[in-house]
Amino acid sequence: MLTKKRLLTLVLVFALVLTTGAAAWANSAIFWTAPNPPQEVFWTEMAKRFMAENPEYNIQVFPMAEAPSSEATILTAIAGGTAPAASENIFIGFGAELYESAALVPLDTLEGWDELIAARNMEGAIKGWAFPDGHYYILPIYSNPILYGWRIDILEELGVDRIPETYEEIIEVARLAQKEGLFLMVRPALGMPTWWERWFDFFTLYNAISGDVPFITGSEITADDEAVIDVFKFYADLAKEKLILTQDIPDAFATDNAIWSELGPWTFPGWKEQYPEMVYGETFALTMPPIPEHHKDDAAGNTFADAKGLVLYAQASEEAKQAVWDFIRWVFADPAHDLLWMEATSLPPVRDDLADNPVFAEYLAKAPELVPYAESLAFAVPPFTHSDFADIQTVLSEEGLIPVVRGTKSPEQAWEDAKAAINGILNR
């Protein structure tokens, strides 16, 4: 039989367990990272440090499943009511789909948003991330401006002493390379309708000419017609003279088969292991995308930004949202964390001061190939905001770019057909 003393002890223990459990529950949240081990390592470390400083929180970090796609994983989790409190790996096009489905929290309505933006020095960078209702639903974490690599060692052998900047100059250099059995560029994706590939071959060049003119605004095509046709014509000219190869040569740029290639900052960690001879400033240089000669004076000089950020999911409990928001604010309040991010992932954090902040100086000095990326962040335009992003870029491929590269349509006709197909999607 229980004595009074034992009963009291039991009640006390039970109460203690309940109180502790409730406290942990109140400050618990699940955060999904991209299915990329370096990003998972970073967020796990951040959660560990945050909880060491704030033991009342319980932030659990998991990588999101990649199959069949990270987008599908998020959608099914939301549909099943099992979405985390927050996740990263959201690009603005998918963000638009989630926004239209009322699945996201407007971050600028949360306490501490302005302070976070100021602390992370991203007042300029955040502007391109506003949604049609004026709110911000994605906090951009990293932005990969797409730059073009030139094999300067091969250019030197070809007798070219200046890196080409215009389409016309590039064609001249490509002809010289062709005589030596080299391709200007090797890009099998130019024959494939895979929607996201257009970010790296079409939008890089398009943004260089058109600048801030959005490709789609609301349900309307607002693209700069002349810029689109210029880009199509450039590819048509290159393909016609067989200066580019649409068949595969593995790592063609690093294996001396091509002299020009679009490059993101994620390329270099792999090169350091596989192609140590690829040294920035010695074998290759990085430039902004080229432009046509007739736009030399008025081109915007922008490029495409492969940028992703984090969101908070509306269906999470208020307690979980608050906990994860506190965690996020803590992470981005300190530039040292962005440095840790860059060291772990090689992906440039979205900050206006990345190139000048002394916190990053030492790292950038050790990785000089990332300096051009840091410097071009301000000129990197994220993807257009529309929930039909995949369909739009697929028909841009099927009706526009691919027939142009194959020589079955003129650039003007291809753009006319692509526009008609895109309008069909926008008016669906």
Partner: protein, 296 residues
């Protein structure tokens, strides 16, 4: 007929329930959910689920991408079916001719079937890459490097042969068991009557292999309507939708454009196409079997 006792009935149900539950959970409910989806324009999470009636089915009927996806299985089949039959039958005859170590040989040929489609696609991608040794040899002979994945007919050929390579070992096992069940007396009798090896093959082996042939052909035809990994990895459905398959289109609509309802309508057409084509092939095979003395 004798009625089952109560105890026997309960036992029967107990044995049946797991299968029934499995069927209901993994087939019936998803099918009903798919039917519900196909009359909606919905991304699975939006609070607004628009009822579109037969809109998705009609849209799919008019889609160039769906037309391409409907045609591709037949294009692949035209190359795949003869290739896989010749290869698997050849492997089976080869293994059967060995007196020892048949199991080891069968496993060796079966291995490609166990390999993942992704890793096999990467191997094939290397083989057809512009600077591969194979292409260097071809280039020396014909003077240029064929654009294997950029030319519609060649891309289909590559995919068909790749799938044939993967499945020939598996189908060879079915043929092998068929070959081993043919009584040796039939060949002896044919030999006495003066039949040669070729005549024996066509007059005895092939007709006697009818059950195995029937299984292999039905499996192979059904397989053509579910091709995904190879074109996804190698061509993305291109060039110009030449290798675009049913599953690529369903995947694209469900997971890239996030149109679950529209993807369901395409999946329904896919199921109908499989049903019709397999039905026709079944009838043809049964007619051939009857002509050679087999009963349905």
């Amino acid at each position: 007929m004798k009625r089952l006792s109560r105890g026997e009935g309960v036992t029967g149900w107990l044995f049946t329930i797991p299968y029934l539950a499995y069927t209901i959970i993994f087939f019936v409910l998803p099918f009903l959910w798919g039917l519900l989806l196909l009359v909606s324009e919905w991304n699975l999470i939006s609070p607004v689920r628009e009822f579109v009636g037969l809109g998705n089915l009609l849209e799919a009927l008019q889609s160039r991408r769906v037309h391409a996806a409907a045609l591709t299985p037949f294009k692949i089949m035209a190359l795949f079916l003869p290739a896989v039959l010749i290869m698997s039958l050849g492997i089976a005859v080869l293994i059967n001719s060995f007196k020892k170590r048949q199991g080891l040989l069968a496993v060796a040929f079966f291995l490609p079937y166990l390999a993942s489609g992704v890793s096999m696609s990467l191997v094939v991608k290397g083989v057809v890459s512009y600077t591969s040794p194979v292409n260097k040899v071809i280039s020396n002979i014909i003077g240029f490097v064929p654009d294997w994945l950029g030319t519609p007919s060649l891309a289909i050929l590559v995919i068909a042969l790749m799938i044939a390579w993967r499945f020939s070992g598996y189908y060879a096992l079915i043929f092998l068991s068929g070959l081993q069940s043919i009584p040796g007396e039939l060949y002896e009798a044919a030999q006495i009557d003066g039949a040669g090896r070729i005549k024996s093959f066509f007059k005895i082996t092939l007709p006697q292999l009818y059950p195995a042939l029937y299984s292999v052909i039905i499996l192979a035809v059904g397989l053509m309507f579910g091709v995904f990994t190879e074109p996804y990895m190698l061509t993305g459905g291109g060039p110009n939708l030449a290798t675009h398959t049913w599953y690529l289109e369903i995947y694209y609509q469900a997971f890239s454009t996030l149109r679950a309802g529209y993807a369901s309508s395409i999946a329904l057409y896919n199921a109908i196409a499989v049903f019709i084509v397999v039905g026709i092939v079944r009838r043809i095979m049964q007619a051939w079997g009857r002509a050679h003395g087999w009963e349905d």
